[in-house]
Symmetry: C2
Subunit: 282 residues, 2 copies
């Protein structure tokens, strides 16, 4: 999917909602356990009930891997099912990244085999760990910049002076996540890269926008992790919206009864209605 | 496996060789394609031919994922097969890392379900992305510090001054990978954490040893990537050896004919013999 198509879908649906499929056997309704593939059955019903309200879906790959090859099959079926909806952007939330020939294998798994539109990528190993994901026409790498968890402050917000020259010493360094935003723009552009910026650090979004005015940002951390949608929109929105705000648990686990899909729709609609208000000028 | 057991295996086998199972359908001998599971069949024959020469095996998870659920099954079978060898340390080279509840799912996949001894973990997301891997008795997290690829110089070697106070300004910062080594010691210890340090930057190993004298280091990059075993031993060895040096392609693809396992043994033995000389004082 192109950036323009994503923008048009946002305008059409009046939503920049991404629904996180953190599907956990322990949390899905009990009656689904009778199904031959409870994980896929759960996802299918959630998608059917909400696909007009969200512009993106984001399976969290760890949840599928924790079930072994059966989980992997459920992930493949989910990716395949999502392809029925031409106005849905799909994200494999996998946080991959390795040396070049290995990242190429991950790209093959998520783009070649499963046909996701995008994958989340960890930047620690640098350029050749990211560029293999940028070789696929119409696909996206979503690079971790500033994440929504407590550990984000261990390294990502540390001040950094790259290759300091004697002249530069004594000047205050930029933060690691800002350096990730800057350096990675030499590898791709706003048409094949996005960035993860956590909603729990919404005030940082205006600084992020100074470095990457045009890129889409994938924003986790609204809801269960405590981030505010209004703050995210205030500091992070650009003229094409430029935001995909993720919500997982609040939506998909709104009920653990037979009405789970209907209740998920209610929660997704609450978010869509809030987003509609924030999109008035887009 | 405990650190003492790993050390005893190194002494017994006179080897600190880790064999990387980067198993690729395109590169394995053609005759194996007749097998019902060519990937597992290849791994099994490599393991059978070399298990007395190596102390560790490291399946590169990307190669299995690129084949979808069939690849995941081959990985599960390989992990299971390796458990037959009590003197083998197993490494899931997965470079995972996510927010706490998600990292717990990855730990469940690789420790709960597949019973690997260890997993490689990317440090970018900080403490809560790593600690879920440290909750399993007898298991290890192997944290990326300084990797063997070109992109290692994009962020890992950047100079960094964490939370600079006015007093600290003007002092030269430590490098990001050194900060990873330092900070992560608050999360675990030499009995449940190791670090990846690439052989292509062997001269950096003496600096690494000043920060982590006792930890085992997993060293990729010898062979295909150009690192030198002698240099790695010179700068990186400690009194319990403290090194696992990986070789993948040089060993497992020594031949693409029916003699592939025998030829892999020849290459593995060359490395073991070199290592034996370097271990004289251990």
């Amino acid at each position: 999917m192109t950036r323009e198509e994503l923008y048009q879908n946002i305008k059409k649906k009046k939503s920049f909602l991404c629904i996180g499929l953190d599907t956990d056997l322990k949390k899905i309704p009990r009656h689904l356990h009778k199904s031959s593939d409870p994980i896929f059955e759960f996802n299918k019903q959630i998608i059917d009930a909400t696909h007009d309200l969200g512009v993106a879906y984001k399976p969290n790959v760890a949840f599928y891997e924790s079930l072994g090859s059966a989980g992997w099959e459920a992930l493949e079926k989910t990716a395949d099912y999502l392809k029925n909806f031409k106005d849905i952007f799909t994200i494999a939330d996998a946080k991959r990244g390795d040396i070049g020939n290995t990242s190429s294998m991950y790209a093959q798994a998520f783009f070649g085999l499963m046909d996701f539109d995008s994958i989340t990528v960890a930047p620690y190993m640098g350029e050749d760990s990211v560029t293999p994901f940028l070789q696929y026409e119409g696909k996206w790498a979503i690079l971790l910049a500033l994440t929504s968890n407590k550990g984000a402050n261990d390294f990502q917000t540390s001040c950094l002076t790259p290759n300091p020259s004697p002249k530069e010493r004594g000047t205050e360094g930029i933060k690691l996540f800002e350096q990730v935003l800057k350096i990675s723009q030499q590898w791709g552009n706003a048409d094949n890269m996005m960035y993860v910026v956590g909603a729990t650090q919404a005030q940082m979004l205006s600084g992020v926008r100074k470095i990457v005015p045009d890129h889409f940002l994938l924003v986790p951390g609204v809801g269960a992790q405590g981030g505010s949608l209004q703050e995210v929109a205030k500091y992070g929105m650009n003229k094409q919206c430029g935001l995909l705000v993720n919500s997982s648990r609040n939506i998909i686990y709104a009920s653990d009864k037979e009405d789970f899909a209907a209740k998920a729709r209610v929660e997704a609609m609450k978010m869509q209605k809030e987003m509609e208000k924030l999109l008035v000028n887009i």
